[in-house]
């Protein structure tokens, strides 16, 4: 980033040692489910001592529709559009994770062009997810509207790309077992290239606007710190884990798809606080732009769907498979058990934003109520995925 950023040490912000007149008296407050900063219908039962959080219990299930059972009553192909509704910001990566699991289950090869298209769409998804997350986070901090609209302006361009390719802005239903549903035209690829080439300009502008902002620094640095040991034990994944300095990215570790062919770096944080989590997103977008540039230069004409796959009346062999990808929010996995029939016997989604909430209480204890919103915003949750 071009903005100069004060370090934590330079700030010498004292730890929260607020005292209150209500010392020892706990007040139980139910934050949510209808609260503008809970990103959907999420509730936290908070015990407050004055303004300081002493206990926090998340309450889930307001959006629960038993996605997994519906998946067990539907054919393998029938679940594909339904995965769009999990994390409705990132339907492309949801599709990919599900397709990857089924491909593992039945050993399906994916043609080269489809692999490139998958990478391009997944990284575009990451760009728009991270951009809008930063916008929402600023919104939670009180910077109403403006930063979010800057982010949404960029997101809109990417959603237009999704729409012209798949027919839908958010519920794309684009991938299939063994490839993708429709091919991208040369015009589409040229349009994508144009948007990708202009994206760093937005990042510079946005970085200048928020990352060095004094209020943002005061509200985020040293807030909601998470230690690397706890993060690993609690199964935290994605940018939130890497903000603690743990180098673990499924794109590098598993090397699924064509990721081993691309040159990109994994940004790592140092303090594991909210500011580092925010920075992780900003830096990851730069790397995504690098991947996109390489992928758009390398993609060649060819088939996009493995012609040997019988997508309709698809029956995989008896057994099970677990496939996972690095979704923008963390490790998204699908665990499938097949009994040889047209429906999966067991269909399980490993939702990153649900598991990333495990340590919400640990991060919030000792902070004031206003910080809870910022910490929750930096986790990056979508309730469609949390409650399933």
């Amino acid at each position: 980033m071009s903005a100069t950023v004060q370090t934590l040490e330079a700030m010498e912000r004292p730890p929260v040692t607020m005292t209150s007149r209500l010392e020892g008296e706990l007040l139980e407050v139910s934050m949510g489910p209808q609260h503008p900063s809970t990103h959907g219908v999420f509730r936290m039962n908070v015990a407050l001592e004055g303004e300081i959080v002493r206990k926090l219990k998340p309450v889930f299930g307001y959006l629960h529709r038993n996605h997994e059972q519906i998946g067990e009553h539907t054919t393998y192909l029938g679940s594909m559009p339904y995965t769009d509704r999990l994390d409705y910001f990132c339907s492309m990566t949801n599709n990919w994770a599900y397709a990857l699991s089924v491909e593992k289950l039945a050993a399906i090869e994916v043609p080269e062009r489809a692999q490139y298209l998958r990478v391009i769409l997944a990284e575009l998804t990451r760009l728009q997810n991270h951009a809008s997350l930063l916008g929402f986070l600023l919104s939670d901090m009180g910077a109403w509207g403006t930063p979010l609209m800057y982010a949404f302006r960029e997101r809109e361009k990417i959603l237009d790309l999704f729409e012209s390719l798949s027919g839908a802005r958010m519920m794309c239903d684009y991938m299939r077992f063994g490839g993708c549903r429709v091919d991208a035209s040369d015009e589409w690829l040229a349009a994508a290239k144009k948007i990708v080439d202009r994206f760093p300009k937005f990042l510079d502008e946005f970085g200048e606007l928020i990352l060095g902002n004094e209020i943002v620094i005061a509200r985020t640095q040293n807030v909601g710190r998470l230690s690397a040991d706890l993060a690993v034990s609690a199964g935290i994944t994605g940018p939130m884990l890497r903000a603690c300095g743990v180098n673990y990215d499924v794109r590098k570790v598993d090397g699924y798809g064509f990721y081993p062919r691309f040159k990109f770096r994994i940004p790592l944080g140092e303090h594991g606080d909210t500011y580092d989590r925010l920075m992780m997103r900003a830096l990851e977008m730069r790397e995504s732009v690098e991947i996109l540039k390489q992928a758009l230069a390398l993609i060649q004409p060819g088939p996009i769907l493995n012609s040997k796959v019988k997508i309709r009346a698809f029956r995989p062999p008896v057994g099970e498979a677990y496939g996972r990808i690095e979704a923008p929010k963390g490790e998204l996995g699908f665990y499938l058990i097949s009994d040889g029939g047209p429906n999966p016997y067991r269909y399980r989604v490993r939702p990153p934003s649900f598991i990333n909430l495990t340590i919400l209480e640990d991060m919030c204890l000792g902070h004031v109520v206003a910080d809870v919103m910022v910490i929750l915003g930096s986790v990056d949750i979508v309730m469609g995925e949390v409650d399933r």
């Binding site: 743990v246 673990y248 057994g319 665990y335 490993r350 909430l357």
Partner: protein
């Protein structure tokens, strides 16, 4: 990473009394799993996490599976003597497998970047709140996921710090992910029920008074007569 057979042998030599079985997986994914016995599960989990060559410090996915009573048919060829000649005859044997609930853990190592090692635990039977040991003391990431299994499958995890329902509401009584779960037929109220919904609704709706010509949805014989 080591082969599953090696891991199994090392578990059995390091944790005294532990019994493990390899559950083969027939798909091309080649993800075989390790069935561990419930009594030593916690010790085995500690071993898997702390062993320096394995270091499975990241428990990615925890989930439940419900297996109903099954009958597995096996056909084998046996040689019998028929009328003085030796013949090969197909003999079908049926093996009854009583139902059980299963908890499956997908373990990875962030330190060594390998995995997955898949471990399973099985309950005795499919009773309500069938017990299994909780592995949350070993991997914190199991906390919410074990709560979810408790909620949707009805496995009771002994040793879990906060075992409550997580997705369904606290007053809910059944376990909706079980294979023999039956949906209640009045879970969704419709102001003007019709077709199948009307047929189901008749069992539950009380008759409305006909004062303002409101449509009755139950027949006269169903209407409860008030005590005089």
């Amino acid at each position: 990473m080591e082969l599953l057979e090696q891991i199994k042998a090392r578990i059995e030599s390091s944790v005294p009394g532990a019994k493990t079985d390899i559950v083969p997986n027939g798909t091309p994914s080649q993800q075989h799993s390790l069935l561990i016995d419930n009594a030593h599960a916690l010790a085995v989990a500690h071993f898997l996490r702390d062993d320096p060559t394995l270091r499975l410090d990241f428990c990615s996915n925890v989930t439940g599976v419900d297996w109903l009573d099954r009958v597995v048919k096996k056909t084998i060829k046996i040689k019998t003597v028929v009328d003085g000649f030796e013949k090969e005859v197909d003999q079908t044997t049926e093996e009854k497998i009583p139902g059980y609930l299963e908890a499956v853990y997908h373990l990875y190592s962030m330190a060594h970047k390998h995995g997955p090692v898949i471990i399973r635990m099985r309950t005795e039977g499919r009773a309500k709140c069938a017990p299994l040991p909780s592995l949350t003391p070993v991997w914190r990431s199991a906390e919410f996921q074990e709560r979810e299994i408790f909620d949707l499958y009805g496995i009771r995890f002994d040793g879990h710090p906060d075992l409550r329902r997580i997705l369904m509401w606290d007053e809910f009584e059944d376990y909706p992910m079980r294979k023999d779960y039956v949906q209640p037929d009045d879970f969704e109220w419709e102001p003007t029920p019709h077709d199948e919904v009307l047929a189901r609704a008749k069992q539950h709706y009380t008759a409305r008074p006909e004062l303002d010509g409101a449509e009755k949805i139950t027949s006269h014989s169903d209407v409860a007569t008030p005590d005089k």
